[in-house]
């Protein structure tokens, strides 16, 4: 399987994603933002975490205009799978590939810790190896993870089962750690081929990292 990991100035999780998918046996290529085309035969695009363009103006606001994003949009429109992690999620929101927007965490703190997530929907390639109600332990590291969508938009997400992950305690009780509306940690688009989440599954793939719960999330994409 061919995985393309995008790289913008200020991206800092591209090699974590590269390492994780390599470990799963994928052919992985890091793709510079100035390229106008994704590699041939790309099966999955990862928009990784970091601080593209220093988060200037708004997180993801400038990266969405990078040359490579045109091809990512075309790829997504044709049903190609795209996963945005953390800053990658913010970029996909700014690009309009996912609905809603990110605000500063309501605590106003940068939050960096392991956090539990509850699987809300698994009828998608990302979470198909998990069960609804499963609790996974995945690191979060963000300042702008306070997901916002208006009331109508939220209803639409719920109606289409687009809410995939919510923040919870280790016992699975939903909890709000950053102000996110309805405790949302991850969503997908209506067509179920574009995914975004604030936590970092690629950083939870080995015991030494404190959790291996990310493996079955990333593995879902494998053919």
């Amino acid at each position: 399987m061919k995985v393309a990991v995008l790289q913008f100035p200020g991206t800092n999780c591209e090699f974590d994603a590269h390492y994780a998918f390599k470990k799963l046996g994928c052919d992985v290529e890091v793709v510079w933002h100035k390229n106008s085309k994704l590699p041939a035969n790309t099966d999955l695009v990862i928009v990784p975490g970091g601080f593209s363009y220093g988060d200037y103006l708004r997180s993801g606001a400038i990266a969405r205009f990078a040359a490579i994003m045109e091809d990512v949009k075309r790829f997504a429109k044709n049903g190609g799978k795209v996963l945005g992690i953390c800053n990658g999620f913010q970029i996909l929101l700014e690009a309009g590939l996912l609905p809603g927007a990110m605000k500063r965490n309501d605590t106003l703190h940068f939050i960096s810790k392991h956090h539990h997530l509850k699987v809300i929907d698994n009828q998608n390639e990302f979470l198909r190896l998990l069960n609804v109600g499963d609790v996974v332990n995945i690191p979060v590291a963000h300042h702008d993870g306070n997901y916002f969508i208006d009331e109508e938009g939220l209803k639409e997400l719920e109606r289409n089962n687009q809410i995939l992950l919510k923040y919870c305690t280790k016992d699975g009780e939903l909890t709000n750690m950053n102000g996110s509306i309805s405790n949302i940690a991850g969503i997908c688009n209506k067509e179920r081929n574009v995914f975004g989440l604030m936590p970092h599954p690629e950083r939870a793939i080995e015991e030494i990292l404190g959790s291996t719960d990310g493996i079955n999330m990333l593995k879902g994409f494998l053919k």
Partner: protein, 81 residues
């Protein structure tokens, strides 16, 4: 001529930074004076044009495209000079 662009969270979108500042001002003794605080950002653009109307139109396009995220933010444009 320049454009002064103000961008801030829409009414109805909770402004957590504004809330924190409101609280801080309150503890500094200004509590009775304040009912709400909203935080925004100001972007000042030096323009090469002399056509005010046209410039405003163009800057509004910039706001829609990049300067504001209209899902959560409002903007205003003032052309001065």
């Amino acid at each position: 001529m320049k454009a002064i662009v103000n961008v801030g969270l829409k009414k109805g979108v909770l402004d957590d930074q504004g809330k924190a500042i409101n609280h801080a001002l309150g503890t500094l003794g200004f509590k009775d004076l304040i009912s709400d605080v909203r935080v925004g950002k100001q972007i000042i653009i030096e323009l090469n044009s002399n056509d005010k109307e046209k410039a405003k139109e163009e800057v509004e396009k910039m706001c829609e495209k990049l300067l504001a995220n209209t899902v959560i933010e409002d903007y205003s444009v003032e052309i001065v000079g």
